[in-house]
Symmetry: C2
Subunit: 707 residues, 2 copies
């Protein structure tokens, strides 16, 4: 039902539009919307609807939608909340495809029932709803400004999806000021039907949108969003501002795994996984969107900085580390490149410092040398206003070389100084050349460009798959259900582990000394032995436990001793047998989990055990399924990763088996709808080649209706 | 010799100035400097000096400085490097107090010898040098622009000290564009004599400088800088940009402790300790300086956000967490405050959301209510351009209320939207009202203001002092020196620990079974025993070690066994005795260190042992000495601090004793010039009240001449 590309087209390119609740009083929303549509240059028919009839802005006002002859694909609804249902009934009769419900007073003020009622009616009658509680939709392709925001929108190639109406309206004005053109602006409001994912899916394949900017507060259909984002970011840059980074801003995460690090951490990890370019604030996002649409792609990871000031060069190098941009001195023939141009350079180090006295010609020569060198993949060119710096000449050179080398590789500029410099910045910006007054802003943009480049250049990998014995998982779950439990017993959880071939400590129950020896030899020495008896709760007190048994003789002695001790302890105890357990070797303790996340659906998590996760919040999340590469990348993300690589002379741990375990628990979760939560804590990780062991496993079931 | 307030005054307010190397050719530096001084409005006499004589810019050119009759406090030197020494000779004869040596070609290009020569000459003749390799000095108090930078400087109350000439010149232009007035701008160049510390010390007490901005690349006299910064930040905000945050930017740290986390980490910790407001880049620093000079102080920690858009409210709350600003819902009568104004609010939550439809009057009422409420200490007022938002009215209200409540508490504004909004921002900015287009920028400024507030409101605490037996430390060091060693032996290091009453594991050497028992009983069971013999290297192989001895009998048996085993192992071994050691209880392993830092002098460090420091770089540094509070603050700074508080049901550890140990090692370092490095690793920390134990101690001595 969701996300139909063909039908969504009618929202952006409607063949006729009605405004239900049109008003002849300037200043009213019902007037402003009609005015914006008319003055915006929409070329198809516009039908203002108002029971009073009459005329407005040169258009006939229809008393009801049924009176209209032509096709109406979109109806903008601005009547009071209690009249919206009736308006939709009218729309249904006229086969309207989209209702943009600007009207507020629904779920956002607690009126959930009415919102459900209109949504149900719309669904039953094939009407898609935008909103309610939105400011409208702007679509450049049809010159349609169906909003009550500013009438003057600059058309261009940035599409914006916003969950905040106020921010959306303000962004229309702000983008105009900043010279950013919009291909579309959609306010999603209460998302009773169409949400950011539906829109993103459409915009991914709409050529006019070269960049998509999303302002999000909460996620609705996160599992689908993940899927759509993964595809979208391979096609075009997706910049996301998600508010609620802070604990105050964010709603308390209800779920266990998520709450370990707070919900934003989950979002942040998954957004990165999907290739999202996440901006902290609006200004930063707009800075990126302005130039991302038109910028050429880097050809590789090696950037070079050219500067006339050592100070701003070092500051830029600092910023490059922050934004994950590689400044290599190892670029082949770096030295030669610049020596050829200016012999006085001596040893060329990156940043290339032309020094304060550099003439515009020298600047140009150095810039051209860098642009021509095939081993340099992107260039950052800095200008600091010194005694001899000519900002005007610099701007001319920048413009010329940018145009000339645009098809080849990206150049970004930063200029720092007084009025002259500000004028040059404004001039270059106007021409769409990426220039910034601050080196950190410049480098942040270059970082965004590199995120986009890496999204597109990494080959897409298939999710890793594993064989799972689903029947035995279902059987374990069924037993818990039959017992009325929402969790699995340790033994059931171990069955689930076995069903996915995740190694667990071995354990058998022996009923004779000989059997105990046989089991011990199957398991391998040393072993641990424990009495099995419902009548003996405190096994140690009863002398019912024996540790570290290293050979046949010790097992036989222990068997006898345990039986004797327990009889002495409680003569009438029913002893079911003696459990022979593998003695667990200590390894690096890690935590592997999988859960049905409220926002994102199946997610997996990984971290080092104990304080690393609990105190240091050193943990990584991913939406599942995952490729093997992505799983290894997830493991490598945690700060304590060097512990798995082996520090202080220790051997490398079995990282491959950790990855396998993450993939396995992910598939267990995905194979069995009844399971909501799996946590292996600890998963002991041994040296490379020696595997892992799920020492303790906790599995929870959904408490709601079974899926 | 350094930092004399009285003499430094002549640099900023000279009673006469000469330009040695004045040129009649426009475009030359020797012309530009004279021109800037003349057009800048300097009221005292200016003497261009050039052997050719003549006239320029209405001034007589003197052939040599000796020809001048009047007083010359400052000489600006622009002659070629090889003539600088001669120029200084002339200056000396004329009792010139400061030489601003613009000339480059000294240490920065490897010409260290000539720089030393001129510096020595200047020192011997009571001339202070600025530079060489600078662009000059600007001083508003005397309308003196003795630079070759822009002629048009806006006078004001921000003083800038810069290590980069290019950045300094560009900042003159940039501050003008941004409407920031300067009280002074000094380029320190090669810092052959006067450095940032000398200047900062003067500016701390110069009333015209309300804010000091420093751009630093390296630190020269860090120990003094720390001392001066500590005083300065209690008087006025000190904003510092230090480049070289990144490993690429930073020089490799040579020293052991420093290199654990990279040099910038040491700078960052110590800057914070001194109350520095550290900016990442130049734009951020200027944003702060613009308003810091004139802003009122918060009256406490409780901030309130007022907004007409939920979205920008949440983004601001996110930013508040990032910049360490407290948004409390607990503010007394918060709800009542806003309910009284607008009953429709219902429950007032912070941010206070007036919603998109708020009228200017409602905005004003809410703002006034917040400003009048004594329990609200600072207000952030946000405006988002919605349908009904009137940016012009907003600006008027903002201006009026800002002026009215300026003496009472700080208000910061952020406006987001189109052209109308941008105009309002420009208008407010011009009037010196802190307004920002981006909520993150606004909040970063508020964060800077709070740094300043906290610097000034925390009572200054005396350094904690401890008694140390300096004589026995000196004796241990003397023994090492006599041996030609640059490190102390374990036993010597233990003597040093004892000299400061730092607990170490107890250890005695027994020569008879009875003596062993006596020692064991003095130390307390369990004990460990080891043979002491130069002839037995592998004590364990020889059976010369006994662990976990819990009573008299076991000690007697062990004594006998060790003697027997060792005789069997090597019949002719000379056995000096048997060492009886305390068995160390395991505790939380920490690292405590103290060292003579190359840049900052005596510094102390603290972190949790092993991977926490080595892998996670979770470590804190401070310049020493430290107050008790500051030491506890240092301990609390590390991410793994909760481990000391006790996690997972464990008891709180003896944090007080950790603090004592840090203070003690700091004083050991400071009491003995020969010691360069002390590291206790691990310092075992036990439960609260049970102390700490320095398990392993490493002490290094200076390798250069003894101080």
């Amino acid at each position: 039902m969701k996300g139909n590309q063909d039908s969504m087209k009618y929202l952006f390119e409607p063949r006729g539009i009605a405004v239900i609740g049109a008003s002849q009083t300037p200043g009213k929303i019902g007037y402003k919307v009609v005015e914006n549509i008319v003055t915006g240059g929409y070329r198809e028919k516009v039908y203002p609807i108002n029971p009073k009839g009459g005329e407005m802005l040169g258009l006939s006002v229809y008393k009801q939608i049924a009176d209209v002859d032509g096709t109406i694909d979109v109806a903008v609804v601005v009547v009071p909340a209690e009249l919206v249902y009736g308006a939709l009934e009218e729309c249904a009769k006229k086969n309207v495809k989209f209702a943009i419900i600007i009207t507020s007073g629904f779920a956002e003020v607690g009126n959930v029932a009415e919102e459900r009622r209109i949504t149900r009616f719309a669904r039953d009658n094939n009407i898609r709803i935008i909103g309610p509680n939105v400011f409208g939709v702007y679509s450049a392709v049809s010159s349609l400004n169906a909003t009550f925001g500013p009438g003057d929108v600059t058309a261009g190639n940035v599409a914006i999806i916003t969950q905040s109406g106020a921010i959306g309206i303000a962004m229309i004005g702000k983008t105009k000021v900043e010279g950013i053109g919009l291909s579309a602006m959609i306010s999603v409001g209460n998302k009773s039907d169409v949400d950011e994912t539906d829109l993103l899916e459409y915009l991914t394949f709409q050529d006019d949108a070269k960049v998509v900017l999303m302002y999000l507060e909460g996620i609705k259909s996160g599992e689908r969003l993940v899927e759509v984002l993964r595809k979208a970011t391979r096609k075009k840059p997706i910049v996301v501002i998600k508010s609620g980074r802070s604990s105050r801003g964010a709603q308390a995460a209800a779920s266990h795994t998520g709450s370990l690090a707070g919900e934003d951490k989950v979002f942040d990890d998954i957004a990165r996984q999907c290739g999202v370019i996440r901006a902290e604030g609006i200004q930063e996002a707009l800075n990126w969107c302005k130039f991302l649409a038109d910028s050429p792609m880097p050809t590789g990871e090696d950037c070079v900085i050219i500067t006339n000031g050592g100070g701003i060069g070092v500051l830029t190098a600092d910023a490059c580390e922050k934004y994950n941009i590689s400044l290599s001195d190892e670029v082949a023939d770096l030295k030669k490149t610049f020596e050829d141009v200016m012999p006085s350079f001596g040893s060329a180090k990156n940043p290339i410092d032309l020094t304060g006295g550099a003439s515009p010609e020298e600047y140009d020569q150095a810039l051209v040398a860098a642009l021509r060198n095939e081993n340099i993949d992107a260039v950052a060119c800095l200008g600091c206003q010194t005694g001899s710096f000519d900002a005007d000449r610099f701007a001319k050179i920048a413009e010329e070389r940018y145009a000339q080398y645009r098809p080849v590789k990206p150049i970004v500029f930063s200029l720092f100084g007084g009025e002259e410099v500000e004028r040059s910045i404004a001039k270059l910006k106007e021409k769409g050349i990426p220039v910034f007054a601050d080196v950190y802003e410049m480098t942040a943009f270059l970082g965004a460009l590199y995120r986009d480049y890496r999204n597109k250049s990494v080959p897409s990998a298939e999710p890793a798959r594993v064989d799972i014995d689903i029947a035995s998982i279902d059987a374990a779950v069924a037993r818990a259900r039959a017992d009325g439990r929402y969790f699995l017993l340790a033994q059931e959880a171990q069955e689930v582990m076995r069903a996915a071939a995740i190694a667990i400590p071995q354990s058998r129950i022996a009923h004779s000394p000989d059997e105990a020896v046989r089991y011990a030899e199957e398991i391998g020495y040393p072993v641990v032995m424990k009495v099995v008896s419902k009548d003996i709760i405190h096994k140690s007190d009863a002398g019912g436990v024996a540790l570290e048994l290293v050979d046949r003789k010790e097992v036989l002695d222990a068997y006898e001793a345990i039986m004797r001790n327990c009889r002495n302890y409680k003569a009438d105890a029913l002893i079911e047998g003696i459990q022979v357990d593998e003695m667990i070797q200590s390894g690096v303790e890690t935590i592997v989990g999988a859960r049905q996340d409220g926002a994102f659906g199946p997610t997996v998590m990984f971290g080092l055990g104990g304080v690393y996760v609990e105190v240091l919040k050193d943990i990584a999340f991913r939406a599942f399924p995952l490729s093997r590469e992505a799983t290894l990348n997830m493991i490598g993300q945690i700060d304590s990763y060097p512990l798995l690589l082996g520090v202080r002379g220790e051997a490398r741990k079995d990282i491959d088996e950790v990855a396998n375990t993450i993939i396995k628990v992910g598939w267990i979760l995905c194979s069995c709808d009844a399971i909501s939560d799996i946590e292996i804590n600890p998963l002991a990780v041994y040296d490379h080649g020696e595997g892992v062991k799920a020492v303790d496993v906790r599995i929870l079931l959904r408490e709601s209706e079974e899926a």
